[in-house]
């Protein structure tokens, strides 16, 4: 496989590859999330008995990682590529390695390793076992067999692959600073680098995240989202208007995502002490658990 020329070509090749493996190619979730795992296509769909296979790009935000666009590898907004297949196929490692080949990594030249990693998300009440995948000593993906999500044991088990796209692409393209990475084809009439698109926004968001965001507003929004989530889940399963059984797991989960992002922003503003931190994480986890409880009662989870 030839070497790709740009960031977007790597994404496109991953999309094509996973489409060929039978995944539904979804679009990013339209909310601010900290990682691709938060997309309901992963969190919720890892629950229940129904088979599932999806792949998507997820723009992700980690306000504390902002470096005003100066650090070669750190960004407060970045992209993850996420694959979730349930039940995990027996050849998932082979499929994964195939995706590396698809983006131009030659297995005869590189040292690919599966290095132990026990994955845990305290905010989602989730854990799994798997590896960090190393390419020549660099972590290029997370490979996880989900064992529990939202406090529920998974059955069947999903295999989750998460690629840190910028880092992976920088390595494949041989770029040392993320901002110098070609976003589209460098020979295109209007060639754009990652920096052309994101340098300014990294600066703007870093300033807002660290120094300007109104912590009172954020805190209020956290609490509102938390309350709304609880309210949604407290509704009767049968909708009085339509008479249908409609459990609103997804709208409730949106509020959980929102609370989680508000927490991340508050954290970046440095207003959460070490002891409070655990308490906030516990509150988000409690929402995630309740959303999971709700989702497993729906038909998307295979409930009758």
């Amino acid at each position: 496989m030839s070497t790709p020329k740009s960031f977007q070509e790597i994404i496109l090749r991953l999309q094509t590859y996973w489409a060929e493996q039978g995944c539904a190619i979804l679009q990013p979730y339209d909310m601010e999330v900290g990682a691709g795992t938060f997309h309901p296509a992963t969190t919720l769909r890892a629950l229940g008995s129904k088979p599932w296979a999806a792949a998507y790009v997820q723009p992700s935000r980690r306000p504390t990682d902002g470096r005003y666009g100066e650090n070669p590898n750190r960004l407060q907004h970045y992209y993850q590529y996420q694959v979730l297949i349930k039940p995990s196929p027996p050849n998932l490692q082979e499929l994964y390695l195939g995706s590396l080949k698809a983006i131009g990594i030659d297995m005869a030249l590189h040292d690919i390793r599966f290095v132990e990693d026990d994955w845990e998300s305290p905010t989602l009440g989730a854990w799994g076992l798997g590896w960090e995948v190393w390419c020549d000593g660099m972590e290029v993906s997370q490979f996880t067999y989900f064992q529990q999500v939202g406090g529920h044991d998974c059955h069947p088990i999903s295999g989750e692959l998460t690629y840190g796209l910028e880092r992976l692409a920088m390595y494949v393209l041989g770029v040392d600073h993320v901002m110098n990475m070609p976003f589209n084809d460098p020979s295109a009439p209007i060639a754009l680098t990652y920096g052309d698109i994101f340098r300014q926004t990294e600066e703007e968001y870093a300033r807002w995240n660290f120094d300007v965001a109104n912590t009172e507003v954020l805190l209020r929004q956290f609490e509102e989202a938390e309350a709304e989530c609880e309210t949604i889940l407290a509704q009767e399963a049968v909708d009085p208007k339509t008479g249908k059984r409609i459990i609103m797991a997804h709208p409730a989960y949106d509020q959980c995502i929102k609370a989680s992002h508000m927490f991340n922003l508050l954290d970046a503003r440095g207003v959460i002490s070490v002891t409070e931190r655990q308490a906030y994480i516990g509150r988000v986890r409690s929402l995630a658990t309740k959303c999971a409880d709700a989702f497993v009662q729906t038909s998307a989870a295979g409930a009758a």
């Binding site: 039940p87 995990s88 030249l109 590189h110 390793r113 132990e116 076992l129 000593g137 660099m138 088990i157």
Partner: protein, 685 residues
Amino acid sequence: MADLLIELFSEEIPAGLQAPAAENLKKLLTNGMVEAGLTYATASTFHTARRLTLVVEDLLDASPTVQEERKGPKVGAPEQAINGFLRGAGLSMDDLEVRNDKKGQVYFAKITKPGRPASEIVAEVLETTIRNFPWPKSMRWGSGSLRWVRPLQSVLCILSNEAEVSIVPLEVDGFKAGNQTRGHRFMAPDAFAVSGFDDYDTKLKRAKVILRTEERQAAIWQDAQTQAFALGYSVVEDAGLLAEVAGLVEWPVVLMGQIDEEFLDLPPEVLKTSMKEHQKFFSVANPKTGRIERFVTVANIEAADQGTTILKGNQKVLAARLADAKFFWENDLREAKVGMGAWQAALENVTFHNKLGSQAARIKRIAALARDLAPMVGADPDMAEQAALVAKADLSSEMVYEFPELQGLMGRYYAAKAGMSAEIAAACEAHYSPLGPSDDVPTAPVSVAVALADKLDTLTGFWAINEKPTGSKDPFALRRAALGVIRLILDNHLTLPLADRLIPADAGAGAADLLGFFQDRLKTYLRDRGIRHDVIDACIAMPQSDDLALLIKRAEALQGTLTTDDGENLIQGFKRANNILSQAEAQDGVEYSFGADPKFAENEAEKVLFAALDAADKKIQPAMATQNFATAMAAMATLRGPIDAFFEAVKINADSALVRRNRLNLLSRIRTTCLSVADLTKVEG
């Protein structure tokens, strides 16, 4: 006889779990087989990142046939009873034998349990083993119900002898045992069949898998050293890292790379830690400069370009990591050079324990205590206080945030950069020591003062809030802290009575308890050094036993005395005297503690004992006053002959009440004299 070969092939097993798993596989399989009557000559195991292998040699072809005799009901017993017996034995009436018993004629059944073929037993035992394998953390995958450390991919299980090879018929959760395995994930991924262990071993080697861990380790180490040696460098030894790396690769390929010049001024510990923790690299030192200038990485593949790409990639990752470390180091140095005040202030907001306040509050307590202790350990009080105030400042540094294991060490660098004295800088690192029974004990006075203060504050603090170790739970490492105090005092020959000076008056009732905790630690510590626990008890019961140096001196002297013939027999004499005396005192309701008079001595042996006690007391008292326990105990031991002769010649309960009382008072003198040296009632034997 046959040989058994089992391979459980899976996705990558965490390095640290491979060896214990291989041991468990062997234990469970061999125990299960032997229990079923299947004995064997030898069993050995192998493990790599992807396989656990067991080979058992000279296994019986079948378990032996077993004959069992069972006694049944009497002849003429109710039919129901007889039928029940037949059912239980799986026999019919014709198979029963009638024998004469004491009670008359009785049915006997001879049951033959035929041996079972090895393959059947192996299949059963292996299935049970796979289903119940004791992984510390296991997982499910796909739709299956099996649990393994990572997904299991295939099971190889064959029995072989000269004549034939047979696959053991076994199916576990969809995994059918076969005779095939696979080689290296990238260099020889195809499946191949094997006919026995030798064939397996040879074919794996050809398929780029080194089966033996020792062989992989040796290959890595030799190759790394050879490459380093060629440049006049040397690889920094790290057995733990070597074991881990050997568990990550099936076909190790050693590559040596360079560390960019711009990072060579980082402290060598930072380079080493960063490379080891993040990248699993070995450090390579240049003996001429004393610096770490290169690294060794171990790849799992013979790359088409001899590893150029792999090395380049690793070097790039390392550069990014070290750029982070350098960034932290430079930021930290800026803060260090202005005195670390901001770091100390930041510790106000870091909770040490919610009932014990902030790190800053803790540091203030330690500083005050270090100042107090300084004169007793020969340190300058101002310097000890100052050292304690900065010793934990590095906890706020970026480097320690990134690499917590560098705490103390970074403190040393930063204190030196802040222009503090060498003693203070040394104390920043040394005050955490000793961390374990084999860790070095600080000897520099300032370090000793801060180390003691740190540990004592931890102990008294957690004692005060009733967070004491229980059973195997010791989350705050209080046992280690107490042992640290003990070793600091003993190794430095300090005179530091614990009760008086180290346990604050406001510790209240907990203080005695904490002293007892120290004494328990001390017993453990001294027992490991060959001092008997009863000897320690005998010395702990004496005054000033909270002075550990004094206590150990007394214990050593006593143990020395007890190993002599006189000493050992003296204990017998003392106990005899003490028993007779105690009984008489209990019986008479008085204490015979005064007034033994030689003029009532009727017997030569009695007179000799009086004289011996006088002579011994004359030696013991001044010796005890100067803590010369060996002299005191030697003098005590000279009483052995006179005491033995006394008991030989004299009847204590003499007819004359006067003589009896005098003799009991004489026994009391023996008791008093002996107890002035140590509490001999606690000595066993």
